[in-house]
């Protein structure tokens, strides 16, 4: 039987790790080989070789026989920690005071990912990925809605702050780093962007992160109820208009953006040099319902803009009979209050559509453009 090659993929700091794990199914007692995608990292050739790694690989046959998967997991986790150690040594070798201070504070920050990488302009970046502790109690309903949406349990991911200090000739590491907050899955498409606190040149990460966490908790408290209200409104609309034909809570136009804090601006919608950080999309949620008006088949589109519920949803009526510009009409002057609950919103929208539909259809009939059956 041929050797079996597995690919281990993982996001690490601002890049994607891709290690190949090669093992021989005919010789399960033999420890697997690992091929790293970073040529500078070779833990078995390191003078300060990890005894733990050597011991693990030496005793592979005895420990892996009972549970190969857990042995593999343990090996990869150990290699990750060695990789982080390797990257820390590379950053320390730069002999930069600021970076040495940040490295010393890593344990306090709970930082588990450190990377020295090359930036696009040839300089180097010292990247840190720090989990941001957030109170997820306000987000629990949203998480439940999204788990229902995904129809499976999603691995709970933390909010991650990605920090990149520029280093190199002519670049001072005391300059403000590039900051980007990565949202976990439940938040990346449902919550609006967070304006990060501005970076004080005198501050350090150990001071900045708690400040960010406080702002993040406030953001979750303010924005999660609005996100949940979208789901509630769609359910309420289904109760009055019937089962929707299609619901898209993810939005159709994902806006690639990032919440980045530079030295002055609190929010910059620029493409991130961090690259791998997941971006959020502040886009609309929409649903479509089939209606009839005197046996004319109609479609009602309900689109909730990013600023919902502060802004009323957009309502669009499409006649299946007509084509061209006269086939669709937007309903304007929708009576609206963001204080209403979902049931009230749905009832008001129903009555409004019922009231407006005759006039709109009459206008469509009177339109001269487009074809009609």
């Amino acid at each position: 039987m041929e050797a079996r090659c597995l690919v281990y993929k993982r996001q690490y700091a601002n890049r994607s790790l891709q290690w190949h794990v090669v093992h021989d199914p005919c010789n399960p007692q033999q420890a697997p080989d690992v091929v790293f995608d970073d040529v500078t990292f070779n833990p078995l050739l390191d003078p300060l070789i990890s005894t733990e790694l050597v011991q693990m690989l030496s005793s592979w046959g005895s420990t892996s026989s009972s549970n190969p998967t857990s042995s593999l997991t343990a090996m990869l986790e150990l290699l990750l920690s060695l990789y982080m150690q390797h990257q820390k040594e590379k950053i320390a070798a730069l002999q930069d005071d600021r970076l040495l201070f940040e490295l010393a504070m890593l344990e306090d920050l709970g930082c588990s990912e450190v990377l020295l990488s090359a930036a696009a302009d040839g300089s180097q970046q010292a990247c840190f990925s720090i989990p941001v502790e957030a109170d997820l109690a306000p987000a629990q309903r949203l998480i439940d809605c999204l788990q229902q949406q995904q129809q499976q349990q999603q691995e709970r991911q933390p909010f991650m702050l990605h920090v990149a200090f520029r280093v190199g000739r002519g670049v001072s590491s005391h300059a403000a780093p590039e900051l980007q907050l990565q949202y976990p899955h439940f938040a990346e498409q449902q919550l609006p962007p967070l304006s990060l606190p501005s970076w004080d040149p005198q501050t350090s990460l150990v001071e900045y992160v708690p400040h960010l966490a406080e702002r993040l908790n406030k953001h979750l408290q303010d924005s999660c109820p609005a996100a949940v209200l979208r789901f509630d409104l769609v359910k309420a609309l289904a109760g009055v208009f019937g089962h929707p034909l299609e619901v898209n809570m993810q939005g159709s136009s994902a806006v690639k953006g990032s919440a980045a804090a530079g030295s002055s601006s609190s929010f910059a919608g620029t493409s991130s040099s961090m690259g791998r950080a997941k971006t959020f999309s502040s886009s609309s949620s929409s649903a479509v319902f089939q209606l009839q008006f005197d046996q004319q088949p109609l479609l009602l589109f309900v689109e909730m803009p990013p600023s919902f519920p502060a802004e009323a949803p957009l309502l669009l009526l499409q006649s299946m009979r007509r084509m061209g510009p006269d086939s669709c009409a937007a309903l304007s002057n929708i009576p609206w209050s963001p204080r209403w609950d979902a049931a009230e919103m749905a009832a008001r929208l129903f009555n409004f559509v019922k009231q407006q539909a005759p006039g709109i259809l009459k206008d469509m009939e009177g339109g001269s453009s487009g074809a009609a059956l």
């Binding site: 050797a3 993982r10 986790e77 229902q148 949406q149 019937g242 619901v247 049931a343």
Partner: protein
């Protein structure tokens, strides 16, 4: 229950270009024109919901289906241009647009359409879909042999095709994330075929070769007015139902199957709208309610008004919102066959079908035909037999009686494209032999048995299919 799981679709319209498509459906428009209109409104509606939906065209000529690969696009304008170029087989042969075995320009195809050719035609798209999920064919094979993706140590462990694939360490982070995003987007597309079949004559469609794989497919059968001895629309519909059900169950898809007489434009468009339903979110066809008639539904009482009236009571949540009276119309099974209902307001049967609480009592021995709306019992027959019931029903909605409404609004809303004679008020239920759903489908039963053996999900879907047909009853 509303389901929110959503992924972009690749929708393939398999459009029959048989000579019957060139027959007039309504004043100045042939059957294919009406189908194109329906597809156009469908595509525009779909794109409004998700920009990532894609569309493609397959043409059915004689006994085979041909994929037009250049039509696969998410660009609406581009797709609609390709759609506009389709011509019925006879005319297309003259213009050398689509090769055809020809035959008389007005005669229908004499060859039975082979569903196997449709599966073969969309095979490239199915393979593309699989490759997008598994980037390398070797990876897919290894995945099948050696198990699923493992989530370990914060990452994923999957089989690799090569011992040493090119490392991506030097790839810029932004480009790798873009690639990942594209792959993620591609992974999510699901393939669905919408078959628009138009032949009313025998031979009925068939499946010539044994197929292991299924096909997620919905069907809209656009046919001539069923007439015994003149055409075989009923038999063709039965064959379509059996084939589409069988293939759908094998693919783990619960198909929607609708039919409409070519001249019944409103019904055809309404059926097309129902096919918009996203497969991940829709209810089984047997549970699908007719669309709400917003003109007949009463104004809703607001929860805030109710709370004010009964001070001290809590504001009602959505689940406790009193159902509007209109809900009773579509909360109960639809009891009319659309073949007995015209598209004009003036028709009493039509009003009773869409505007009144359905008389489920007529469900036992339906005489009006079931069509593909999923339920038996012809309320139209009941309404036609006892015309007062429709007036009572109309009065319940607070509208003028149908005749008055027709007089007042008939000129505005009556469908000028209906077939001659169909606008006559009181169009009786029994004047047209309606299409009967097949009472028993060997294919679906066999597929159900296979599905039960294969797994619970397939069995569940098979049971759903048979339940849909069992609920239809007989004429």
């Amino acid at each position: 229950m509303v389901r929110f799981a959503h992924s972009p679709e690749t929708i393939v319209f398999a459009i029959d270009l048989d000579a019957e498509m060139s027959t007039e459906a309504t004043r100045g428009y042939c059957r294919l024109d009406v189908v194109k209109h329906a597809v156009t409104t469908f595509v525009l509606a779909k794109k409004r919901m998700c920009a990532r939906h894609k569309f493609a065209l397959v043409t059915l000529v004689q006994d085979e289906a041909v994929l037009l690969p250049y039509t696969l696009t998410s660009n609406t304008d581009e797709f609609l241009e390709y759609l506009a170029q389709l011509q019925p087989a006879a005319a297309a042969a003259e213009q050398q647009f689509i090769t055809s075995d020809g035959g008389g320009s007005s005669s229908s195809s004499s060859k039975a359409f082979d569903f196997g050719s449709l599966i073969s035609a969309v095979e490239p798209l199915l393979q593309q879909q699989q490759q997008q999920c598994w980037p390398q064919p070797q990876q897919q094979q290894q995945q099948q042999h050696h198990g699923e993706m493992l989530h370990v140590a914060g990452g994923t462990l999957t089989p690799a095709p090569a011992l040493l694939s090119a490392p991506a360490a030097t790839t810029s982070s932004s480009s790798s994330s873009r690639i990942q995003q594209q792959q993620q987007q591609q992974q999510q597309h699901s393939l669905r075929v919408i078959l628009l079949y138009a032949r009313s004559q025998l031979p009925a469609p068939e499946l010539r070769s044994q197929q292991q794989r299924g096909l997620a497919m919905d069907c809209l059968y656009v046919h001539s007015k069923p007439q015994a001895g003149v055409n075989a629309a009923q038999e063709v519909y039965g064959a379509l139902e059996e084939l589409v059900d069988g293939l759908g169950v094998r693919a783990g898809h619960a198909p929607f199957i609708y039919e409409a007489t070519a001249g019944r434009i409103m019904k055809l468009l309404s059926c097309m709208a129902l096919l918009l339903a996203h497969p991940q979110q829709r209810q089984p066809q047997a549970d699908t309610q007719p669309p709400l008639d917003i003109s007949a539904a009463p104004v809703m009482q607001l929860p805030s008004d109710l709370a004010n009236l009964a001070s001290g009571l809590p504001i009602m949540t959505a689940s406790r919102l009193p159902a509007p009276a209109a809900a009773s119309a579509w909360a109960k099974p639809l009891v009319v066959s659309d073949d007995t209902v015209t598209d004009t307001v003036s028709d009493a049967a039509a009003v009773s079908a869409w505007g009144s609480p359905a008389t489920a009592a007529a469900g036992g021995g339906s005489t009006g035909g079931a069509g593909a709306w999923g339920d038996a019992a012809a309320a139209a027959a009941a309404a036609a037999a006892g015309g007062g019931s429709s007036k009572d029903a109309a009065a319940a909605w607070g509208r003028p009686a149908p005749s008055a409404a027709a007089a007042a609004a008939g000129s505005a809303w009556s469908d000028p494209w209906d077939e001659a004679g169909a606008n006559t008020p009181g169009f009786a239920a029994g004047s047209l032999p309606a299409l009967q759903p097949t009472q028993s489908s060997p294919a679906a039963a066999a597929a159900a048995a296979a599905g039960a053996a294969a797994g619970s999900s397939n069995g569940t879907k098979a049971a759903t299919v048979t339940a849909r047909r069992a609920s239809k009853g007989s004429l």
